[in-house]
Amino acid sequence: MLSILILMPFLSALGVLLPVSKAFRLKLFLVISLFYGLIVASFWKHLPAGEYHGFIVLDPLGLIMLSIIGFLYLSVSIFMMGYFNHEQRSTRIFMACLMLLLSTMTLASVSYHLGLLWVAIEATTLFSAPLICFHRNQQSLQATWRYLLICSVGIALALMGTFFLAIAAHEVHTLLLPSLLKGASSLSVDWLKLSIIFFVVGYGCKMGLAPTHSWKPEAYGQAPGMVGVIMAGALAQCSFLGLLRISQICNKTGLADFYSSILIVSGLLSLVVPALFILGEKNIKRAFAYSSIEHMGLLVLGLGMGAVGLYGALFHMINNALAKVIMFLTAGSVAQKYGSTRTDEVTGVIHIYPVTGVLLIAAFLAGIGIFPFATFHSELLILNAAIISRHFLLAAVGVSCLAVMFIGIGKIVLGMIHGKPKEPLIAKKENFYMNMAIAMAVVLLAGIGLWMPGALKHLISDAVLLTGAV
């Protein structure tokens, strides 16, 4: 079952590469993501069996990740139905890469062997690079380059981390997660510590934790909206999955405090740094990129704060993904309508494109975590975890960073929503697919915020139990 899930997108990528019409590609893409979504949904009933002697296993953590990926691809594929009506550029490579990315991310979220996990994440880097330079102009190429360089360094470091882990686990003689956990007592602590550090920095590069975040504003700023969604919502969180796996090991080997102290430091950095950068920003996509750094920081902080924080973090993973769908897709549609994403060139959206305007409002509220959007709850959960674990100062700093973030993003987005538009005030017709794709996410996120489904609750608490956090 799982291997189907991995292979299906892979094959369809090959199919997409064939010289077929754009419409066909879009339809194929939609169908594939629908299937994917359905399969993942079926997993909610009962988890599938592991495959390849336990190299590929789906556990609650993986299921959370897969559901996120599935929903993201679904909404993106719907969005593209509308988006590519106006694009002349060839979509062959683009879609193929998206598909390959899908399969590799799936692999990453189901791989139970840390080496395999690393391979998968390396592959995602390779396939996501071409997506960024979809518009082949200087800036996008520069962005791609920075992304490649930094992420490949990250990957190299992660590889070293894997090696160190291997040495630490020389008695277990395998990197399969269950056997690592079983033989946790036999792991040599020094090497484990070394490997943890390299993992945090390495996977941190992919997550875009400060100070390794610098590629994010560039890449997200250049990439088309859909790519932003996939990267901020799914890709970054895949590498967070890597950190989660590490935390499983740490909780077993009594290195939890060591790990959490590192996590808290990098989380704090990733809260502070974007707050410093955001106020000078004018470009909505870049602003969203900064906010995504902020949210990654929140995730890491949550992970560093024991069970309550982890619960918040996992919940926030989902909400953040949904919020990113709303934010980047809306940004994408605005970008396509105005040919710009700078707040001083885009004004009065609500007057010309009422629906997009409303969605933009939703994007703003979801992004900064305002009730009823579920991001509100998960942010509160993480803050509360900070207070429960008696990191009062941390909570205060985090709160003030969030406030600054709020100011920065608000200045940009609200500036776009309101104001006297350059064109005359006639409401224009909008594309149904694009708005629907976004509206889906809006409804879902608000729904979760108003009434958190029991299944979700259980899934998350299972995941927390799985990691053995206390």
Partner: protein
Amino acid sequence: MTTWVDTSCIITVFLALIILSNYRVTAMIRIFALQSFVLSLLPFFLHAYSLSGRDIFIVIVTMVLKAALAPSILFWAIRHVSMRSEIKPILGFGSSIILGVILIAGAFWVSSSLKLPGGKPASDLILPCSLSTVLLGFMIMVTRTRAVTQVLGYLILENGIFLFAVSLFDVMPVLIEMGILLDIFVAVFIMAIVVNHINEEFEKDLASVSRSKMGETF
């Protein structure tokens, strides 16, 4: 055989140091090729008496990838974008040497507290040397402004990792193969450079690209 291993480790680090202090691209590539060649011979030295098929495979693949393919791609790249040397060295010869030495010292310092577990290691120089090669490679990336040379630095870093991987040959099965995957990955993205002419774009000094243009999408 340990002496052979030790010497090859030392040579690797030394060559990395040379590259760090050198600014002529062609020379750098050649030295890199030499370093890769030495590295790719390591499995022989490690298992001189009990060569397995896997050893042969590794040696050949690495030799092809590191010592032949990567350098030639790089040469192709610089020919393609017609650049011979770095425009302006960020660090002078002396300072880069000193920096490199400091990094090496640090690497040894860190690894002094770490014992390679399981039996007696083939050579106790492997860990510090690989670490210092990694750091030196990193340093090269930091001090070079050109895409190609940064890639070169990355390759050095990656050689360091390979060195480490080789030492883990029998600790864990698949690790070296993963290292080789990394090689392929790198090779691919050097292609990316050339195909996308990133370097031509980079002929314009990045610092001169105005804020607005960087901030601009589309």
